[in-house]
Symmetry: C2
Subunit: 296 residues, 2 copies
């Protein structure tokens, strides 16, 4: 059996089921960040993301934007747990004939966004490789009472997103803005039951929340904010690397959230028996089978 | 200009000089671990290491030992700062046709050594790639008063090592024991001025201490513990991935250290003007130009 047959999420589940952690680990594998005890009021967040030439970017892309993206992805993971990013280390695999100019631009992209989001680059590792590989690990901090995971959505909750969806492949995936400001506003002013960032695709990532919260959901075609690059509804529903926030909050919280145009309602959390459905613009209920990006 | 022309250490220096960090960062790039403020008595340690198929291991190696090594390297980095490892995240790049059996063994290697050294595996990231790439980021903790960096060696200090050197390529590099027990014994019972783990080679890594401490050194051929796999003195001096501890302590401390056979004296820290010399078994002083493994 190869890993392609088991699939990315099957593999993650396989590893997770074999991993034991001690009591200082609030949440291990299976969310956007690991959550670790830090002090009386705060948890520490820990996450990693690997970018590979030919998979996540090409050498035709701007090295500045590739570097920026490598850091931005981890900031987005910290944001989806409602935390603030603090520190990162960077492992780089590089071909020997890599031009110094390429690397300088890559590093400038990393360092500019790190400064903008107050992330300290504190270390790294360099290796020779036949392709450019970038792995960023990031630490963040979140107030205990603000932590948001994937598993807290409840039937009746309203589902919200930031931004708009579709066509990230045409460039947004390299230029996206990690929704840290929006996430921190949520953390400070509202009670959010579950949150994730859209990296695999809107339906795929919502299905992660549904699975871990043991609930169902309905979303409305007319409410899905489509970007002008979106080529179809399906594109908006399945486009990966959008890096928008997707979250669920109770109805009383939702009432307050609706006053801020940054947060757009797209549907409702249902009981698990309901399943996962889309109501099309002509009122038809369609079962959703989550699609989106998987690595294997 | 390519990165090969600048070299691995030139590149690291180039990045380091461009990186600004805030006051919570006690030590950023340029040591075995980054050192971060944690609480009144402790610092947090943060390190990452990337292993690449064809560079650090081959598919003919035991996947169990490759997994073990990926974790052991980071434990060794934490040990060289005198800390205790706590948490890690693992990024994996994998070819689509990777056999599940390979991955299960790789993961078993990781998980067995993690359990042995009380490291919690708390997350990861999976990516498709044409080669197996493993990047481990690890967090540790160290009592403030026990922290050892590369920059504290003083003229007159005695230089010590653990274990023996040479021939790691013949298998030790996959089976080494991270010297955590020895490092923690040092932390608890002695005042150590500088420490590093031998990953690039004994002379190369000692030269890192010398450069950062702004000192010179003399080492004695007769005192270098050579492993039975060592093919020559040069091999013992330059063999990479030995993962033994190399450290410097004052003479009064050295007197106490000599009572423990785990710690073997190999020479003495000198003033910077002295340079870096080896006294051969016939008494000749030879200038050392550090050699060892570099990636570019």
């Amino acid at each position: 059996m190869t890993i392609k047959q088991l699939g990315e999420f099957g593999l993650i589940e396989r590893f997770r089921s074999k991993t034991k952690t001690d009591l200082s680990v609030i949440k291990g594998s299976g969310d956007d960040c690991a959550v670790l005890k830090l002090d009386k009021s705060n948890y520490q967040l820990f996450t990693c993301d690997m970018l590979i030439e030919g998979v996540d970017f090409t050498l035709k892309d701007s090295p500045y934007l590739v570097g920026r993206k490598a850091i931005a992805i981890s900031i987005s993971d910290i944001a989806s747990c409602s935390g603030k990013p603090r520190y990162c280390v960077i492992s780089l695999g590089l071909p020997k004939n890599t031009k110094l100019g390429f690397l300088d631009k890559l590093f400038k992209g990393m360092s500019d966004i790190s400064r903008e989001y107050k992330v300290n680059i504190v270390g790294g590792d360099l290796s020779g490789n036949n392709r450019v590989v970038i792995d960023v690990s990031m630490l963040g901090i979140v107030e205990r009472k603000c932590l948001t995971l994937r598993n807290g959505a409840k039937p009746g909750d309203i589902i919200f997103v930031t931004g708009s969806f579709g066509g990230s492949i045409s460039g947004k995936h390299l230029k996206f803005t990690p929704r840290l400001k929006e996430a921190r506003n949520l953390a400070r002013g509202f009670k959010i039951n579950a949150m994730i960032d859209v990296s695999d695709g809107l339906t795929q990532d919502l299905s992660h929340i549904l699975k871990q919260s043991k609930v169902g959901a309905v979303i409305y075609e007319n409410l899905i904010p489509q970007s002008k690059e979106a080529v179809s509804l399906n594109d908006a529903l399945n486009s990966g690397e959008e890096f928008e926030l997707l979250f669920a909050a109770s109805r009383p919280q939702a009432k307050k959230l609706l006053k801020n145009p940054d947060y757009k309602p797209i549907g409702e959390i249902m009981k698990i028996d309901y399943g996962f459905k889309l109501v099309s613009s002509n009122g038809r209920e369609i079962n959703i089978r989550p699609k989106g990006f998987t690595h294997f």
